[in-house]
Amino acid sequence: MDPIIQVKDLSKSFGSNVVLSDINMEIGRNEVVVVIGPSGSGKSTFLRCLNLLETPQAGDITIEGRSLMDKGTKIEEVRAEVGMVFQQFNLFPHLKVIDNIMLSPMKVKKWTAEAARKKAMELLGKVGLADKANAYPTSLSGGQAQRVAIARALAMEPKIMLFDEPTSALDPEMIGEVLGVMKDLAREGMTMVVVTHEMGFAREVGNRIVFMEQGRILEISPPSELFDQPKHERTKAFLSKVL
């Protein structure tokens, strides 16, 4: 495996609440890793450490060989290469869809407006929303908003995409359109780390499944193994509840 992300002895606590302890794993280039586990097990916190929305207390994360803990590493540069999609979409409500997508390429990467617009329109086409370019986010359905959020993250041409329960806030009939976009992305070879409760998606798209509980990784296996022959009793108990 050619690892793009390496996590070593990662620990994180909020006050006295230990949320992640001794997380170790590598994520390969073009790999799709799906993180599952009970509520409060630290899935979001783990994901947010990967783009430094949370600062770990101990351990190290390297992306493309560059340590995120290194004092010389610029946080903004790391984040520009790691896209993130949130459960609540977090579109910028005061900006049109197209401006939501163009803003960061222009301000962070210093692209010209034309270049950013071209990229934005291309991505809107890709997520099937070219006709919504001039709409404001409040006029979109949840599924549309989340697809715009994905396009916005992709406009920065990230090497890695992080998804934190991207379909959990959606009405059931809209889940499919978002998962569809994510499947396309996986097929194109995007490296993805996805926290989700969509076990069908995990089995179909995930190369490996991570099962987390109480801030620890209990099991990392390919989906066929993890879903059909879980090694751990806790994994079995969790799966019997969600499947």
């Binding site: 783009n51 929305l53 903004e76 984040r79 993130m84 949130f86 977090n90 005061h94 960061s104 920065m156």
Partner: protein, 216 residues
């Protein structure tokens, strides 16, 4: 009320008008300068660095926790007269109101910025924006919209409070009302006229605010 003397109002009318312009000028300068200073204080107050935060908190506590009249006296007799080498009531009035308004607007900025959902700053950061870019393009444009009613209210408060500078003889509306009252030993004519003018100012400002709010 049968002997209500309109001639007093007539005689003082030009002075009332000039006073009204001073009232508007002093309050407007106060809110504008106060908002600029308040932005710096508000941001300092939101800083993670204690040596920025503590002085700003001290400032806010002082100006919100002491009477405006006292602040006007200190600025007039203590600060402005020492710096200029002479007393200047209008300058002192503007400085005192601006310093006072800065403390209140600092809190408006803080509350406005903190009212923006965390998800917005997280999304901005996740896209690689610096703190400054996030403030400039994401947080402030949304926060300022929410702050406009509070700024309007602060302006209305300032128009009323600016009457206090009559005591240092700044020639605004209240000063002339007081002058007319003592010259003619009359209460109702000058003070009712002043009240009517203050009401007109605050009422139209209030209407303007409601209009702005609805438009946004």
């Amino acid at each position: 009320m049968a002997d209500f003397r309109f001639d007093i109002i007539g005689e003082y009318f030009p002075l009332f008008m000039r006073g009204t312009l001073y009232t508007i000028g002093i309050s407007l300068s106060g809110i504008i300068l106060g908002s600029i200073l308040g932005l710096a204080i508000g941001f300092g107050n939101l800083s993670k660095k204690w040596y920025l935060r503590l002085p700003m908190q001290g400032y806010i506590h002082f100006f919100r926790g002491t009477p405006l009249l006292l602040q006007i006296f200190i600025v007039h007799y203590g600060v402005v007269s020492n710096i200029l080498g002479r007393t200047d009531a209008v300058v002192a009035a503007i400085v005192a109101l601006a310093l006072n308004a800065a403390a209140y607007t600092a809190e408006i900025y803080r509350a406005g910025i903190q009212s923006i959902d965390r998800g917005q700053s997280e999304a901005a950061k996740s896209l690689g924006m610096s703190h400054w870019q996030m403030m400039r393009y994401i947080i402030l444009p949304q926060a300022i919209k929410r702050m406009i009613p509070a700024f309007g209210n602060e302006f209305i408060v300032l128009i009323k409070d600016s009457s206090l500078v009559a005591v240092i003889a700044a020639p605004e509306l209240m000063y002339w009302a007081k002058g007319a009252s003592s010259q003619y030993a009359r209460v109702w004519e000058p003070y009712l006229t002043a009240a009517l003018i203050y009401l007109t100012l605050t009422y139209s400002l209030n209407k303007l605010l409601i209009y702005l709010e609805r438009k946004m």
